[in-house]
Amino acid sequence: MRHGRLPLILSFLLPPLAIYGIFVLSPYLQAFQISTTDWLGYSAQADQVGLANFRTLLHDGYVWNALRNNAILLAVVPVVTIALGLFFASMLTMGGRKGRAGVTGVRGTALYRLVYFFPQVLSVVIIALLWKEIYSPTSGLLNGALRAIGLAEPPAWLGDPRFAFWCVLAVMVWSNVGFYVVLFGAAMQAIPRDIYEAVLLDGASRATMLRKITIPLLWDTIQVAWIYLAIAALDGFILVQLMTNGGPNFSSDVIGLRMYDTSFGSENKFGYASAIGVAMFFLTLSVAVLALRTARRDRIEYS
């Protein structure tokens, strides 16, 4: 019976482990090591500089500027996305008129769900390029509409340091909401109907139902959504690079773009870029842990 056991374990496990070790594990380990060198560009010359890169990092105004934008994304994107997702999902699963059938969704729920999910299957590159055109000062959809309603000189959006970052943020929310509508909708459907019907019989309003029943019961899903959106907010690289390239005047810069520019863009400071990468790693990790912890505490309060 034990015949063929070891060959299977070895042949099933070694190839994936080898690929994983070479292309994932070893780069991650090397990154920590490179972050302590002053490696510049493609030469083999690299000296150990200890924690000098991290000291430079602490005083790098561009890095702090980018981090500030990531912090704003982190504070705004998850909250807005989850709020919109919950609102639309609850409309779709139980917003329908109260009839004899009890709690149902609005009419056309299936169609809404189909449409809302569209951005999720588009690549972020396409979303970024399309919205860049929508925001275009002269030929864009947005300013076309603004001019049509009589605004003579609408803003330049991505070309204006006051608006560029918020335009990118809006696209981030736009591209994520549909996914969470579907995710929350699936979780809401798992909640037994009779709970809602009982609460409705007691005369609760829709808003009370959402606040007192749905959200507490969905808390696990919301927590997962929170973590994923927080991680997405710490990235934002593709949207920013393609829509504004961090500009104008670094107003929409994010930390991922800082790192990319430092290593493969305008400079080849591999040592310093790796230090930014290490900082990003610890940042992502602590945000994930923090999100888990705060969410858990809230959950106890609710239940």
């Binding site: 496990l13 994936p16 690929i19 990154a31 189909l114 390029l129 509409a145 409705l200």
Partner: protein
Amino acid sequence: MSTVRAGVPADRPPRRETGVANVFSHGFLLLWAAMTILPLAWMLLSSLKSNGEIIADPWGLPEALRFDNWARAWTTAHIGRFFLNSLVVVAGSLSLTMLLGATAAYVFARYEFRGRQVVYYLFVGGMMFPVFLALVPLFFVVRSVGLLGTWPGLILVYTAYSLPFTVFFLTAFFRTLPTSVAEAAMIDGCGHFRLFFRVMLPMARPGLISVGIFNFLSHWNQFLLPQVLIPGDGPNRMLAQGLSSLAVSQGYAGDYAQLFAGLTIAVLPVLVVYVAFQRQIQAGLTAGQLK
């Protein structure tokens, strides 16, 4: 707005309030649907307009349907070639990911051996790290094995970065499968390999489809990895790279219609597949996140 009205009799629900609320929130639902569809519809319409029409009136309809924009994007901007490139690479990386992911997950789920936990967590721990951290060394690793700028290099890297999640997901899935079937097959003299390929793999089909859809979209939509691993502007780049350089050259040439045509060509097949397999795709992607 949110008062609990305990005194309202069961047969008289607060109709007026919900009536207003219904119109109000239905309006929001419609508004968001419009905000989702409008950009895509605009992209499609603009891809059929002339550049003059696009600049003169962004909201205007095309006077004639200019499919030559599409032809120009397909040939001059090589969107057609990039599309096929992406298709070939994703076919390779997806097959490899599924094969290696399923075999590794099966071992983790079904076989006891020393150090299994450690190896498993080492493997799955890769999910926690941001790709940015690996970017610089990865470039040199791929270069040192001579695969920089090649499709096999990209396929191996896509696979490597998808394995942690795939293994994590499929291990959980294999554990949910009943052991009785496997034991019966073993008693009938089925070998370990045969058991996997003929019995367990078919039983794991729903899980494989979910994680397969998830991986397909994440490979198809990759931008950062090809940007670093297929540098330059050669003909073997991926679709995402081709589109982004089309956007750059459009900025100089002012050929908006060509850019919109290129975007439309890239979007339409994905959207058609999505509409056809809507339920499986939504289930696959949300399952990926819920775990």
